[in-house]
């Protein structure tokens, strides 16, 4: 972790140890996982030769005797004694029948709303959901606040006590209008006053406008702050540029310095990095961003037509990052990566993920024209519009979004479905023109990443248990 000097406003990165990292392998040289299916059970042979198992329906993970892999009669190493093979088949059948995973209750309460505070931006990032200028093609730069307040009040009114509600400020660049953020947050708190509702405020910002005043506003909200940054300055400045074409990194780091002065009053400080054909140096981005004092690192891939090769390279880079993070700091460092933390929580709780996100189910998006969609990627798309009244058309929402994505997107018996949640509707639409037609590149990179995550999960859990048990044992 870097050290920040609030007086100078500079970071001391301490890069020395980073030269210890191995040079990344070229894609064709990378060892890969082998997999076989036995009903609901996925047998995994890792590049290191370990044999693991995943019960894809129950989300159970196991270490397997190497003999289980050799049960496959097509394997040249298959020379199992018949009695051993019978025993293995019986154990697999017993595991296949296992029942411990669970589906959570799937209501349609809106617990999360994203508001476009400003549909305009001071940057012009090449892959932006809002069209590069932050406007989504709309001339309306800021929302009608009286209407927005009524829409928020209506959603809060539908939540029973004991529930939670997250208000996320998005743009464009939301910190162009801190006054709107302050007013909507104050209104939301007022509407929730006296009720047993847990409020949470999130913001996604490019951080270039963060000064002492804006940092103090976010601190007063106890906000979860996600800073958008794609890696080291030379990497970040390729796509995250000002309208005059200059890189934004210097401004981002200044803003970050202001946020660090109030860090103890922020709920969390995270970074979101976007990769794609324009940026595939996942390892380089991690080496830089992991040195900054971010709690969580969220690495996303910007889908576009013809991105299959880039998608696989991104996945391979992410897998390499998982190796490096685990080697550097064990489970804690690994779980700074959002994708790894999510997988670990899913496997720990064995709670099936049936939706890649909760768009349309427990989450809605509001644009500056006061119109609802289910996520920011659908803003301005007429066929995704859910109306612009104070109250959302619940019948329409239920009809279009009630079904879980693993079912709606026909995931079938894909072994990854309950960890992935059926894929991204926006990615599907970008790639196939249909938000429920799966993007196979998305599926490929998801499965690739999950295999690495499962391997790390076993290593982490095994080592943890070993430490607490204090001794090794063998199966006889």
């Amino acid at each position: 972790m870097s050290k920040f000097d609030p007086k100078s406003g500079n970071f001391n990165f301490g890069f020395k140890h980073m030269t210890d990292f191995d040079a990344p392998l070229a894609p064709s040289q990378r060892p890969s996982f082998e997999t076989r299916r036995q009903g609901d059970i996925l047998l995994i042979k890792t590049p290191r030769g370990s044999v693991l198992g995943l019960h894809s329906r129950e989300l159970e993970v196991a270490q397997l005797d190497a003999a289980v892999w050799n049960l496959d009669e097509s394997s040249p190493a298959a020379a199992l004694e018949p009695s051993i093979a019978t025993e293995i088949r019986e154990e697999l059948a017993q595991w296949q029948a296992s029942r411990s995973g669970q589906d959570a209750q799937g209501d349609l309460l809106v617990r999360s709303l994203t508001v476009n505070v400003a549909q305009i931006c001071n940057l012009a990032c090449t892959y932006c959901a809002a069209g590069g200028d932050g406007t989504y093609g709309s001339k309306t730069k800021t929302p009608d606040l009286e209407k927005t307040e009524a829409q928020i009040a209506n959603l809060l009114g539908q939540l029973p006590d004991g529930e939670s509600f997250t208000l996320t400020f998005l743009g464009g660049e939301p910190l162009l209008h801190p006054d709107i953020i302050e007013r909507l947050a104050r209104h939301t708190r007022l509407m929730a006053a006296g009720r047993a509702l847990r409020l949470r405020f999130d913001i996604v910002t490019n951080a270039t406008l963060v000064d002492a005043e804006r940092a103090e506003l976010l601190a007063k909200l106890g906000a979860h702050v996600t800073v958008s940054m794609d890696g080291a300055p030379e990497q970040n400045d390729r796509a995250r540029i000002t309208k005059s074409g200059r890189g934004s990194s210097e401004l981002v780091l200044k803003g970050l310095a202001e946020l660090l002065k109030v860090r103890d009053r922020l709920h969390s400080l995270n970074v979101g990095a976007v990769f794609g054909r324009h940026n595939l140096d996942v390892v380089g981005a991690w080496k830089y961003l992991s040195q900054l004092p971010f709690q969580t690192l969220k690495f996303d891939f910007a889908a576009e037509a013809g991105d299959e090769t880039a998608s696989r390279l991104f996945a391979e880079g992410l897998c390499e990052v998982m190796e490096l993070a685990f080697a550097q700091g064990g489970e804690a460092e690994l779980r700074r990566l959002h994708v790894a933390d999510h997988l670990f929580r899913t496997l720990d709780d064995q709670l099936r993920v049936r939706n890649h996100c909760l768009a349309g189910k427990n989450h809605l998006q509001l644009d500056t024209n006061g119109r609802f969609t289910v996520c920011q990627w659908f803003v301005g798309q007429r066929d995704e519009d859910l109306g612009g009244q104070v109250q959302v058309d619940e019948g329409e929402r239920r009809a279009r979004f009630e079904r879980d994505l693993v079912d709606e997107n026909n995931c079938g018996n894909c072994w990854a479905r309950y960890m992935c949640g059926g894929g991204c509707m926006s990615v599907n639409k970008v790639k196939n023109g249909n938000k429920h037609e799966r993007d196979l590149a998305f599926c490929d990179r998801t499965r690739h990443t999950l295999l690495k995550g499962i391997e790390k999960y076993v290593e982490a859990r095994y080592n943890t248990t070993l430490d607490s048990a204090g001794a090794e044992r063998e199966i006889h």
Binding site: G49, V51, L59, E60, V61, A62, Q63, L64, D65, A66, A67, N70, L80, E81, I88, E91, A97, S98, R99, S100, Q102, D107, R111, S112, T166, T168, N270, G272, V339, H342, T346, L347, D348, D349, Q350, L351, R352, V353, N355, H356, C357, L358, K361, N362, H363, Q376, W377, M419, G421, C424, Y457, Y462, T465, S468, A469, A471, E472, E474, I475, H476
Partner: protein
């Protein structure tokens, strides 16, 4: 051919389980550091003991949802 798992196991197993060592088990059904093949467990809460609501995947909406 060896019967040993690739990495030595450390979680107590049922005596009749030789080849499959479970690494995880829903917390409400298994004591810490113990895991066996179970066929009937029906856990009712997650590790935090919180009410179960839909859990999102790693979608880009920056909200945990739970």
């Amino acid at each position: 051919m060896s019967k040993l798992v690739t990495t030595p196991p450390s979680i107590p197993q049922e005596p009749n389980v030789k080849f499959i060592k479970l690494v995880n088990k829903a917390p409400s059904t298994a004591p810490a550091a113990a895991s066996t093949l179970s066929t009937s467990a029906e856990p009712t809460a997650n590790s935090a003991g919180a009410k179960l609501t839909r859990r999102p995947g790693t979608g880009c909406i920056p909200v945990s949802g739970d």
